[in-house]
């Protein structure tokens, strides 16, 4: 019987080739939905990995301490916080005193306009300590990072800010004014890997100044939005995280309004959002798959109607109902398989293009490929069976009379 199956396949391919445009239109639904599923799942998985990578960029021994009420906030840019609970120098001291901690770097976000050659409105200015560069594993392209010996009126720029403010990759020695204070640029960061949908500030668009300058800028002690806590080597990072959390809670008199994130869960909240997003898109794509199936059904109904005469003839010369059914089922199967393959190829192209030309780094998730293809083929065959049954049950005389 295998030769018979090959025969069906040949027939199916012949009929698909005979009407290429229509066959492609038939497949389009399947193509698009397979593409959508693979690309979207790949995108969200890619973003997830990027968020993960970001945590790794800080090093797997870096903890984040944040005000708790903002741990689940969805601020797209800027350091989380700015209102409500803030961290203080006492928290920094408590964290530093915890067992297993080597460095604590406070990050304090100050908003305001920056006046250089150009003006940047509401720039993200982050006041921090010179140790930051030891924690976040990020190289300096030009100059150096903040140094305690430089005094308070120095600044290091993110690469985008440098370009924007002075139209220069390395505006070392240039000055800008921020809240009435003048700063000399001593360094420019290398391009940070951008992480879309991340809770982190976009450091490429940030200006880093010494924590000591905040007093002059604001007239108060620095209000800290986030702490980077680097643990000593050879310690249990989770254990240290617990120690830090306990110390800070204790220093706040038992108030649990801060949260300490270990490298593994630093992107946790955004992951959940991403997963939800991916799920929703997969749901939409599944609807698209069903629509693709309906498309196959409609086009095959047309195909069957067009070929009534042919079906009559095939029956007259001895094709059984089952054989006609198989022929059309094979056609539906071939359409959905080819459609799926085209969809996968399309998804591959889109993913490659996104990787090349955007900061997004989508990946191919094999499970999504498998699910998309299986669902596409199943719907194609299920919906294809309706016209196939119609063809199989045709009366040969009626069909032959049909022109």
């Amino acid at each position: 019987m295998s030769s018979l199956h090959k025969g069906y396949l040949r027939l199916a391919m012949q009929s698909i080739r005979a009407s290429r445009v229509r066959s492609f239109m038939t497949m389009l639904g399947i193509v698009i939905s397979v593409m959508a599923v693979v690309v979207v799942v790949g995108l969200s998985e890619g973003v997830k990995q990027q968020v993960g990578n970001q945590a790794e960029r800080y090093g797997d021994n870096v903890l984040l301490v944040r005000p708790n009420q903002h741990a689940n906030a969805l601020t797209g840019s800027g350091l989380p916080g700015g209102t409500g609970v803030l961290l203080t120098q006492r928290d920094v001291q408590a964290a530093s005193a915890s067992e297993g901690v080597s460095i604590v770097v406070p990050m304090s976000s100050i908003d305001g306009d920056i006046f250089g050659d150009q003006t940047i409105k509401s720039a993200t200015v982050i006041a921090t300590t010179p140790e930051l560069v030891d924690v976040i594993n990020q190289g300096i392209d030009y100059g150096g990072f903040l140094d305690a010996s430089d005094g308070d009126h120095v600044a290091v720029l993110g690469s985008d800010v440098a370009l924007h403010l002075f139209n220069d990759n390395a505006p070392l020695g240039q000055r800008f004014t921020f809240r009435g204070q003048s700063f000399i640029i001593v360094g420019v960061f290398k391009q940070f890997v951008a992480a879309p949908f991340s809770l982190e500030a976009d450091y490429n668009r940030s200006v880093f100044i010494p924590l000591g300058s905040t007093e002059k800028l604001l007239g108060t002690a620095p209000q800290i939005n986030q702490l980077f806590v680097k643990t000593k080597s050879d310690v249990n990072v989770k254990q240290v995280a617990n120690n830090v959390q306990a110390a800070i809670t204790a220093s706040r008199g038992g108030s649990e309004d801060t949260v300490t994130l270990s490298p593994g869960d630093s992107g946790a909240s955004s992951n959940q959002v991403l997963q939800l997003l991916a799920l929703m898109t997969v749901a939409v794509a599944s609807v698209a798959l069903v629509v693709g199936g309906v498309g196959i059904m409609n086009m095959m109904l047309v195909s069957v109607t067009e070929r009534i005469h042919e079906i009559g003839l095939r029956k007259a010369i001895g094709a059984t109902n089952r054989q006609i059914l198989r022929q059309f089922m094979t056609e539906a199967l071939a359409l959905s398989v080819i459609g799926s393959i085209l969809g996968l190829v399309g998804a591959g192209v889109v993913i490659a293009l996104l990787r090349l030309y955007t900061s997004l780094q989508p990946v191919v998730v094999w499970e999504s490929v498998l699910v998309a293809v299986v669902v596409a083929i199943t719907t194609g065959v299920l919906f294809g069976s309706i016209p196939a049954l119609k063809a199989a049950r045709m009366d040969p005389i009626e069909a032959l009379r049909h022109e």
Partner: protein, 291 residues
């Protein structure tokens, strides 16, 4: 045992008052090796008879024995398999699949038998050689002349080595020359031992038949044995009939055809019932003619 035995086969369409009779208790026995020409005006039930014999249709009443086996009540699948193994169809409109080459068209019935592709192609090529078209194996139907197309269709009908070949007006769409080509081929097939039944409107073509059946109103009106190469006597009358309608005939709406439907000694009367019916008809004809 006869190859085909129709026992009072009727085919009705519709219900109640709208019932129309396509076949009216047709009794017909065809022996293996006969070449039967079926004639008759449009709507006389020729095609229904062909469909019935070809197992495309089921009789409403009556029985159909093929090779002594009752096939009139078989399942759809069984009948499809009998069509596949024992019957070859030739159609007026050729009915080749335009997307397939001549060779693939011929091999099509073998596909449904489950033969492997090399075997299918080999057998199809052999048959195409037999009909003299092996050099056109890879031509598509649109690249062939009408006569050639019908020869390919005949090859397709022959490829499963059927016991019975049914041709419904095989020359209906062909010019005289192509008709001759196709009929010569059918005649040859008959001579090589096949049973052939063909429908025709052309009395000339009864030369290829050993028997002529004339149908009217779903019933067999005449059924005569003829010699090969001779036009059937009844067919000859149709052929050479000079229209001799008078104005009166026209007024009465009686065609010249009715006038020549006089009983003939040479034609066999199929059944008493038929004879009775004919008699009544004759009476009315006469009555109209004299009036």
């Amino acid at each position: 045992m006869s190859l085909i035995e129709l026992q009072d086969v009727s085919k009705l369409y519709g219900f109640g008052d709208a019932t129309s009779v396509a076949l009216d208790e047709v009794a017909l026995t065809i022996e293996s090796g006969e070449c039967v020409a079926v004639m008759g005006p449009s709507g006389s039930g020729k095609s229904t008879l062909m469909n019935m014999i070809g197992l495309l249709d089921r009789p409403t009443h009556g029985d159909y024995l093929l090779n002594g086996r009752r096939v009139s009540r078989l399942s759809v699948t069984r009948r499809a398999k009998i069509r596949r193994d024992k019957i070859g169809f030739i159609f007026q409109s050729f009915n080749l699949l335009g997307r397939l080459t001549a060779l693939e068209n011929v091999a099509l019935p073998l596909l449904y038998k489950g033969h492997s592709m090399p075997k299918r192609n080999h057998e199809a090529r052999t048959i195409l050689e037999r009909v003299g078209l092996h050099d056109k194996s890879y031509f598509y139907p649109r690249q062939l002349s009408g006569g050639q197309t019908q020869c390919v269709a005949i090859a397709r009908a022959l490829v499963n080595k059927p016991e019975l070949i049914i041709a419904d007006e095989p020359t209906g769409n062909l010019d005289t020359e192509s008709s001759r080509l196709v009929m010569e081929l059918l005649g040859e097939i008959h001579k090589s031992g096949n049973t052939v039944i063909f429908v025709t409107h052309n009395p000339e073509l009864t030369r290829y038949a050993t028997r002529v059946v004339y149908m009217q109103d779903g019933a067999i009106k005449y059924d005569e044995q003829t010699k090969l190469g001779e036009v059937g006597s009844y067919a000859r009358k149709v052929m050479y009939a000079v229209p001799d309608t008078t104005e009166d005939d026209d007024l009465a709406g009686v065609s010249a055809l009715m006038k020549i439907e006089k009983p003939n000694e040479k034609t066999t009367k199929p059944k008493k019932k038929r004879a009775r019916r004919k008699a009544t008809k004759k009476k009315t004809t006469k009555h109209k003619a004299t009036s």
